[in-house]
């Protein structure tokens, strides 16, 4: 499935906006996960504007596709996506990490469009398996369940319990996406606990494997099309999306330093200008730069 240049450009623009808003909300909150939010911007853009069947006017519409964010620390990117897709006004992203606002990880009761609550790694795929089984029980052959996992969380045993059961139940309505950004909280995946050979692991667990460049919206679109309409034949499908942690801002790329780390307003201003240059957009800095004087100062932390 090929896209015309205009569609590709639109998806790239969505990914750019997801990155901008992620940095905006993390900076405003003085807490959050930069690297893991920036790495999955294209994945979310293609899911919410191409692959998934959702209706922002009716977020709980029964026939919708479901997305479970297992790597729930990437919530800024998902909150940005849902805002841009029209689930709520963009201003609400600035409640991120505020008392009573959007949660630091995910609380489904706080944010319209969220399908579940999460935070501890390794748990989301099981919830997705339950939702995929539910579609079978309800005799719904059309809707799909998507689940985004981080690479580091593949260290968790729960993921492989879920992987084993997905194949056992023949859940070909389940599409897992690995945001394979190569870096976890304290270093490289291969340094802390290697997950390779990754494609072979999923194949051995009975999954259909598709590998893509996770920053190429054309490749992602084609992969989701195959996963939804070509490949399903009794096996769950995993898209291993090779990505760059912190993609778009040089100091954050492949850096575990920016796993859980909020930029100061001044640094965020630089980062957003750099992001604009890297993606060929008009140079715009941090929109809340003038408000910073009023706020307590604490940067970083976990």
């Amino acid at each position: 499935m090929k896209l015309v240049a205009e569609e590709l450009a639109q998806l790239e623009e969505r990914a750019y906006q997801i990155r901008r808003l992620s940095l905006e909300m993390i900076t405003n909150a003085k807490w959050g996960h930069v690297g893991g939010s920036l790495s999955m911007a294209e994945i979310l853009a293609v899911l919410y504007w191409k692959a998934m069947n959702v209706d922002p006017e009716h977020p709980m519409w029964e026939g919708r596709d479901r997305l479970f964010l297992s790597k729930a620390h990437g919530s800024p990117a998902l909150y940005a996506t849902l805002a841009l897709r029209g689930f709520y006004p963009i201003e609400r992203i600035y409640t991120y990490c505020e008392l009573g606002g959007f949660e630091g990880h995910t609380d489904m009761h706080r944010t319209p469009g969220l399908e579940s609550s999460g935070g501890p790694l390794g748990m989301g795929l099981s919830v997705a398996v339950g939702a995929a089984l539910a579609f079978h029980l309800k005799g719904n052959p059309r809707s799909r369940v998507f689940c985004i996992l981080g690479d580091g969380e593949l260290n968790e045993g729960n993921v492989w319990e879920a992987a084993m059961s997905s194949a056992h139940y023949h859940l070909d309505n389940l599409i897992a996406i690995i945001d394979y950004n190569k870096v976890m909280a304290k270093g490289f995946v291969w340094e802390l606990m290697s997950i390779e050979p990754l494609a072979e692991k999923w194949q051995a667990f009975g999954w259909d494997v598709i590998q893509v460049d996770g920053h190429d919206v054309g490749e992602l679109t084609a992969a989701f099309h195959r996963a939804k309409w070509v490949n399903p034949r009794g096996k769950p499908i995993v898209i291993i999306a090779h990505t760059v942690k912190g993609r778009g801002v040089e100091r954050a790329e492949f850096s575990h330093e920016w796993h859980t780390h909020a930029p100061s307003a001044a640094i965020a201003d630089q980062m957003l200008r750099e992001l604009a240059l890297n993606f060929g957009r008009p140079e715009i800095g941090y929109s809340r730069l003038d408000r910073e004087e009023e706020k307590e100062t604490f940067y970083g932390g976990e």
């Binding site: 935070g119 501890p120 099981s126 919830v127 539910a134």
Partner: protein
């Protein structure tokens, strides 16, 4: 009242569990039972045989089972992920906490093989800390039934409320406390026997021991009030305060560790309302061990005689005959 030595292979609370699952399955078409390779032990087999298409076998993978239950609940089903209490509340605690309790999902969690009676399986399977652990989960209701009728009523009450519930099933033939028309209400205790001298607060199968203890105390002229509190969370604070306002001393009894469980819940209430002499009966701060059930009740000082002795102590404290 039957003696406390009535465990074994004869009808125990698991039978009522299996039968009530089927009963609820007929009434609630969206009910699903999940199992992690223990259905003949838990008696969930009966649901599998009655509703094979609403029974999901997950293999020996409890973390996955509770995650799947969350996904089913999010899709409008009412899942009962069924396993031994030890494997639910230890192995899958994170999944229960964050995937289920945090978003208040409509999942009903049966914990079987609780406390001392687990047929000699030993400390790994005698789950004693589940009440303390589950009581600490916001949004979760916790109940420990006193007999078969109570278990059945709790299962009905569990499915009638929207939200997560944890309830216990002992592998134990508990003497009957209630008749077949028994109703259970969340946050309500029941006075089973009245008396002015001391209140014995029991939960789960230990309420039966409290009634036997009250008989022993009556022999020496002590009038003990016995209150059954299957609803550990929410707990009946009003009833606790009302009872103790009269008796001015109390003993709690539970088939679980005394650290943080039912006795602690009673103590928390009394600390806020009316601090009085109090003693706790349950497994002290140690692992449960293998052994015959009567042997274990004796080893952990959880026999009716131990409850009666604790009652005499709190009465003496109240009367100023003993100092703390």
């Amino acid at each position: 009242m039957a003696a406390s030595s009535s465990s074994g292979e004869s009808a125990d609370m698991r039978e009522a569990f299996g039968d009530t699952l089927v009963e609820l399955g007929h009434a609630y078409p969206t009910m699903i039972v999940l199992d992690a390779d223990l259905h003949t032990s838990s008696k969930a087999t009966r649901f599998r045989d009655a509703f094979p298409h609403r029974f999901i076998q997950v293999g020996i993978a409890e973390q996955n089972m509770f995650g799947i239950a969350a996904g089913l609940a999010l899709s409008g089903f009412i899942p009962f992920p069924s396993t031994f209490a030890a494997f639910a509340t230890r192995r899958a605690l994170d999944q229960i906490a964050i995937s289920i309790c945090y978003p208040r999902l409509n999942v009903k969690i049966p914990g079987s093989y609780v406390g001392l009676p687990t047929s000699r399986a030993g400390a790994s399977h005698n789950c004693i800390e589940d009440v303390a652990v589950m009581r600490a989960m916001p949004n979760l209701r916790v109940a420990d039934p006193g007999d078969d009728a109570d278990l059945r009523a709790i299962m009905h009450a569990a499915i009638e409320v929207d939200g997560p519930v944890y309830f216990r099933i002992a592998r134990y033939a508990a003497p009957a406390l209630f008749g077949p028309g028994h109703k259970f209400e969340w946050g309500k205790g029941v006075v089973l026997r009245d008396g002015d001298d001391v209140t014995l607060f029991g939960t789960g199968i230990m309420t039966g021991h409290c009634l036997l203890a009250a008989e022993l105390l009556a022999d020496s002229g002590i009038k003990a009030q016995v209150v059954h509190m299957a609803s550990v969370k929410p707990i009946d604070r009003d009833l606790i305060a009302t009872c103790v306002a009269r008796t001015r001393c109390a003993v709690t009894a539970e088939n679980a560790t005394i650290s943080g469980g039912f006795g602690s819940a009673v103590a928390e209430t009394l600390a806020l309302t009316l601090p009085v002499p109090l003693r706790f009966i349950g497994v002290p701060d140690r692992w449960a061990d293998s052994g015959g059930i009567d042997e274990l009740f004796a080893y952990h000082r959880m026999r009716p005689a131990d409850i009666a002795e604790a009652a005499r102590q709190v009465i003496a404290l109240k009367s100023g005959l003993l100092t703390r």
